[in-house]
Amino acid sequence: MARPFTPKVITANDLLEGDVIYFMSDDSWTRDLSQAELIVDEAEAQLRLLDAERQNIRIVGAYLADATAGEQGPEPVHFREDFRRKGPSNYSHGKQEAEAHV
């Protein structure tokens, strides 16, 4: 029997900046996981992934990542996605640095 589908978000990297990005319901991208579109239907997930990949002039390496619904929006399931959300643990660069300067 096929495994039951678990909710997903679409994540990728910004082609020029390299930052981890997430696909939103209006077909644009955010750097904040909690703003991402949480997809709960398997067929819908595949279609949305195609929508995301169509933007390959701006993004690279889109894939479906497990996520759960949290109070503030989608939360990561696997520790890989938790690290990707925060950025590298050895340096505060990219979005961590941007946040520090706010």
Partner: protein
């Protein structure tokens, strides 16, 4: 980017694909006191021969060759598809040819296929090895396609027989052009005209300044010229990311190489920077400049000189983080102030089984895995990357992310308690006493249960 690299004389040809990849050599090449001949002209000869070699563009898998110019292997030749180790026999210099080594998911130490190969026979012999591999190597399974599996499945004796038979044919096809080319290449590797002069300044600083002395003791290697030294600049400052230098630090090192190092600077596979030729009288000045830019860490070969792969913080293949583990180990032993007491001890960390961190050949190897959605670190002991190469053995169950540094600390404490003298290195103690004492230090609970 490729354009900009091209302008600086760099390229990316055969850095990928099922071809002979870039040939590597010893990072002390042309400078080391123990060297028989400079291995770089041979590496360059192999590069020119293998670039666009029509027969070997579609091998079963990638193929890597390493050359070391001295009997002391610093190029990890036993973990390459073909390793060439310069040896001397009856006054003649030639190669010991090692085949079928490799790390990754199936780590193996290369086997000696030829004790002594005269240097003039290098290319025909390599061609024979590659040709045998090209025919016998498996193409049905990517994980079984490297020559290490071919050697294991067919046996080194059969491979040797086939290579020698092929060699008889190939040798006749070489008319000496390769040797003329080699002679030409050698002119591009003429050593710099080393200057002479008094080294009193070095001796004076060595006697007067304990910080300089500590640095000189760990970070200098013997140069073939007694008035010179090989400087290793540690890019492993305690608690920092192993192998990372800032743009400013890189400029400082380039300036130092220009000013004091005959314009030469190298990057080693151990993630450090080498200035291969430095007159000893310049060492105090170099050290002072390095100190200003946080580059004077005196830890080459010590416990904090860790090789770490980028790990999950950066790499899409990784199954666990490695850089933070390296940072924590280095910081911890710096706090303990035990580093110099512990002596020569290599820790290498990989964040997945592809082993970019060379953990298999570390005295203490750490492999980060994903066990049911949690980071888990396995420890291997007794690996060795030199001419006495060995693959480390797994100690047992892995450790969680917050348990790995204490586990390494227990290992090192055990070593300090059982070493026969201050001179006995970790690897020597392990070889003398085996896994047991280290296992009981790592897993105290398991021991209690047995008792």
């Amino acid at each position: 980017m490729l354009d900009a690299l091209g302008e600086a004389g760099l390229h990316a040809i055969q850095t990928s694909g099922t071809t002979t990849r870039n040939t590597t050599a010893d990072h002390f090449a042309g400078a080391a006191a123990d060297e028989l001949t400079d291995p770089r002209p041979y590496a360059e000869l192999i590069r020119q021969w293998s670039t666009d070699h029509p027969e070997f563009q579609f091998l079963g898998r990638k193929f890597k060759i390493a050359v070391t110019g001295s009997p002391n292997d610093r190029a990890v030749t036993k973990a390459h598809d073909v390793g060439l180790r310069m040896v001397e026999q009856n006054g003649e210099i030639g190669f010991e040819v090692i085949v079928g080594g490799g790390l990754g998911r199936t780590p193996m130490v290369g086997k000696i296929i030829r004790d002594f190969l005269p240097q003039a026979d290098l290319l025909p012999y390599l061609e024979s090895v590659l040709s045998v591999y090209n025919v016998l190597g498996r193409r049905d399974n990517k994980y079984k396609a490297r020559i290490k599996i071919t050697v294991q499945e067919n046996g080194i004796d059969k491979i040797r027989e086939l290579v020698e038979a092929r060699f008889e044919e190939r040798r006749r096809e070489f008319d000496g052009t390769d040797q003329a080319l080699l002679a030409e290449i050698k002119t591009h590797f003429t050593p710099p005209a080393l200057r002479s002069g008094a080294t009193d300044a070095y001796q004076a600083a060595y006697n007067a300044d304990p910080v300089f002395r500590a640095w000189a003791d760990t970070n200098l290697a013997a140069h073939r010229d007694a008035d010179h030294a090989i400087v290793t600049i540690s890019i492993k400052s305690h608690g920092a990311t192993p192998g990372d230098a800032s743009a400013e630090q890189i400029r400082v090192m380039a300036d130092l190489a220009e000013e004091f190092g005959y314009d030469e600077l190298r990057i080693s596979h151990q993630q450090n920077v080498i200035i291969p030729h430095v007159h000893k009288s310049d060492l105090p000045a170099i050290h002072a400049r390095l100190k200003e830019h946080a580059l004077a860490t005196a830890n080459i070969g010590l416990i904090s000189d860790i090789i770490a792969c980028p790990g999950m913080d950066y790499c899409a293949l990784a199954t666990a983080r490695s850089i933070p583990v390296a940072q924590q180990i280095a910081s911890r032993f710096d706090e303990l102030k035990l580093e110099h007491d512990i002596g020569h001890l290599q820790i290498k960390i990989s964040g997945c089984i592809n082993a970019c961190g060379h953990h298999h050949v570390a005295h203490i190897g750490i492999l980060g895995l994903d066990r049911a959605g949690v980071e888990n670190y396995q420890i291997t002991l007794g690996g060795d990357a030199t001419e006495t190469a060995e693959i480390g053995k797994r100690t047992g169950p892995g450790f969680a992310y917050d348990e790995i540094v204490p586990a390494v600390e227990r290992l090192v404490e055990a070593y300090l308690a059982i070493r026969s003298s201050d001179e006995e290195t970790f690897l020597e103690t392990y070889r003398r006493l085996g896994m047991e004492p280290f296992k009981s230090a790592l897993y105290p609970e398991a021991q209690k249960k047995v008792a």
